[in-house]
Amino acid sequence: MAPLQKRALYSLIIGVIFAVALILLFVAKGDVTTFDEDSGFRLIVYALWIGVPLAYLVIMNLTLRKPGQVDERDRLIMEHAPRTQFLSVLFSLMAWVIVLTEAFRDQGQVPVIYLTLIMISTLIIGTIAQSLGILIGYWRGVNNG
């Protein structure tokens, strides 16, 4: 397994664990209104939200900086990964729009808290999808030209 492939796999596992933990945290705390009312809970979510993408960036940068760890094929795979990222983010935003429209159609307005949740989920999905894009690149293979 290539060093970048290994890092992408670790990042994917960390990202999925983080996403599941966040969902479980919300379920355990009640519903999304708790996030709005409980400042302690908000602080935990913000810390996780900023911490995990930062950890991801550190992991990736450490891999890229080491000499001989990444070559032209790895770079090519990394260049293709944003396609997966873009599609994942696009579909997640579409899902948010459909779900929120259907859930709050009667009220005629969506609670402000959902803006934060959409941002958090977009960041998490973007991070997970980048790792997934890299792993798909290794699986499918890439070519110059």
């Binding site: 760890q69 070559d71 032209e72 094929r73 293979g141 070519n143 110059n144």
Partner: protein, 74 residues
């Protein structure tokens, strides 16, 4: 009729002809990772011109002796 192009290589053969050079050794000398050499030998990756020249230089042969361009009609 569509034309299908394929680039084949003789890297595995050349490694064995050069004192059974390991993939790791070739990767270090050509400046790439062992996984890229594996992908090249399996025909799963076509290298850049630069890497192709570096690999040929390691074996001390011309580019055409390592890589062959084949075109066929389908």
């Amino acid at each position: 009729m569509a034309r299908v192009a394929k680039i084949r290589n003789r890297i595995r053969r050349l490694r064995f002809d050069h004192d059974e050079m390991t993939q790791e050794d070739l990767a270090n000398r050509a400046g790439c990772t062992r996984q890229t050499i594996i992908a090249l030998e399996q025909g799963k990756y076509v290298p850049s011109i630069e890497l192709a020249f570096r690999i040929a230089k390691v074996f001390g042969v011309t580019l055409e002796e390592v890589f062959q361009y084949e075109e066929s009609s389908q």
